[in-house]
Amino acid sequence: MRKLFTCAVLGLMMLPQLAFAAGGGGSAVVIVADTRKTTGWEAWFANLYNDSHLYFALLTVVAIPIIGVVFGVAADFIMHHIGLDLKSRDLAEH
């Protein structure tokens, strides 16, 4: 039963490929960052974007969770310092 369930789930996950058989839209417009106005880290950033969207995407996927967690933990720290219980809540009704 478990094997059957696993196969069914994997099969469902492959369905989008069938949907794509309907054909996609046209190719996307390419945007190029203008590096003439940028210096320092901004220039590095813009050049990374222009040179490789893949590396830029990897940077995004790594940086966003890290930055989110850092500032979330900072807010956590402030609230804990104030004296709030951040680990539990009373059982609430609907």
Partner: protein, 351 residues
């Protein structure tokens, strides 16, 4: 004054960056409280700041991924995230979303995409708003009936009970969901998430606005668990969306990071506020948010039928969304402060 304006290296525009932080805080509070990503709130906000629309969706999704991660971690500590339910629903959501996205391409080919999508959105939001307020009204009716009989209403009683019918479906495999607190056929959440994913794919939204009420009214999750579990899904779809939109060159990462600074802190405030507000309080506030979103879309549709009002309606639509976002985030923030004060006073009293 120059200090408050920053050059965005990818899009090449100069943006008032404190505005991005304020927008992030407001959207973060609402997102952490209701369990949604908030694309419908962010786009008008970015429009006002002069942000290029080509980058709006990708930038929003990138910041949403980080904000949802923070909220999910916090809701998880409160016991609000049913990870098993979230993963099961992810399967249906992905499949439904891709089929919805393909249908959009069909609408594009027949040249009717904007009209159909907007009216579908209005119809859907009307249904969701009706569902929420009908549920509140029915529960109040039950409360009055219980009082008339000299009894207290069961704290876990709800107005709408459609989920009970869905739980009666016994197609195996059956699965128990610990945090949500029920057992049902696995096909129920898969089907519900397929439908919500399909609608999200057609409407081009993250789906939190649809999935949160679906978790409550069709799956039967308690409100807080619906919020937390929905955020878990938004986090996963947000990370995927951030990667794919950035790969297509549609993310202004600097703006996303600035918004995320505000949103990460706002999300903590919104999440902690759910400790102090009852489930039905969250539902009513959600209903108001849905009405605000619906009003802004109707304003964008009216110029199709009435000439000469497009510019005015566009501004009014943006103002409506920003007023709803500001009022709701202020309400949630004040409730959080009041609840925090009570909690600290009780702790000091005990000590």
């Amino acid at each position: 004054m120059d200090f408050f304006y920053m050059l965005m290296p990818i899009s090449g525009v100069t943006i008032f960056w404190p505005g991005l932080i304020i927008l992030g805080i407001g959207v973060g509070i609402i997102g952490g409280f209701f369990g949604m990503g908030g694309a419908w709130m962010v786009t008008p906000g970015l429009n006002i700041l002069g942000f290029p629309m080509a980058f709006a969706i990708g930038t929003d999704i990138a910041h949403m991924a980080g904000k949802s991660l923070v909220s999910t971690m916090r809701h998880g500590k409160f016991g609000n995230v049913d990870y098993k339910l979230g993963i099961v629903m992810l399967v249906g959501t992905i499949v439904g979303f891709e089929i919805g996205a393909q249908m959009i391409m069909w609408f594009e080919r027949i040249g009717k995409v904007e009209l159909y999508v907007r009216w579908l959105y209005v119809g859907l939001l009307t249904f969701i708003a009706w569902m929420v307020f009908h549920d509140v009204a029915k529960r109040k009716e039950k409360e009055r009936a219980a009082k008339a009989a000299g009894q207290e209403i069961d704290k876990l009683a709800t107005g709408i009970e459609w989920h009970k019918t869905i739980h009666k479906i016994k197609i195996p495999p059956m699965m128990h969901f610990n945090q949500a607190g029920f057992t049902c056929s696995i096909w129920a959440p898969v089907f519900v998430s397929f439908m919500t994913g399909w609608l999200a794919g057609i409407l081009g939204i993250g789906g939190g606005l649809i999935r949160m009420p679906a978790l409550i009214y069709f799956i039967g999750c308690p409100t807080h668990v619906a919020v937390g579990t929905d955020l878990f899904e938004v986090m996963i779809s947000g990370l995927y969306g951030a990667g794919t939109y950035t790969y297509k060159g549609r993310t202004e990462l600097v703006a996303a990071v600035i918004m995320l600074i505000g949103a990460a802190m706002g999300a903590q405030v919104g999440t902690v506020a759910t400790k102090y507000i009852k489930g039905y309080g969250i539902r009513i506030a959600f209903g108001i948010a849905v009405l605000g979103c619906m009003a802004s879309i109707i304003m964008k549709l009216l110029p199709r039928y009435i000439d000469g009002i497009k510019a005015f309606m566009d501004d009014l639509s943006t103002a409506t969304v920003l007023i709803v976002v500001s009022s709701l985030s202020l309400y949630i923030f004040v409730k959080m402060l009041q609840g925090a004060r009570r909690e600290i006073a009780m702790k000091n009293g005990k000590a």
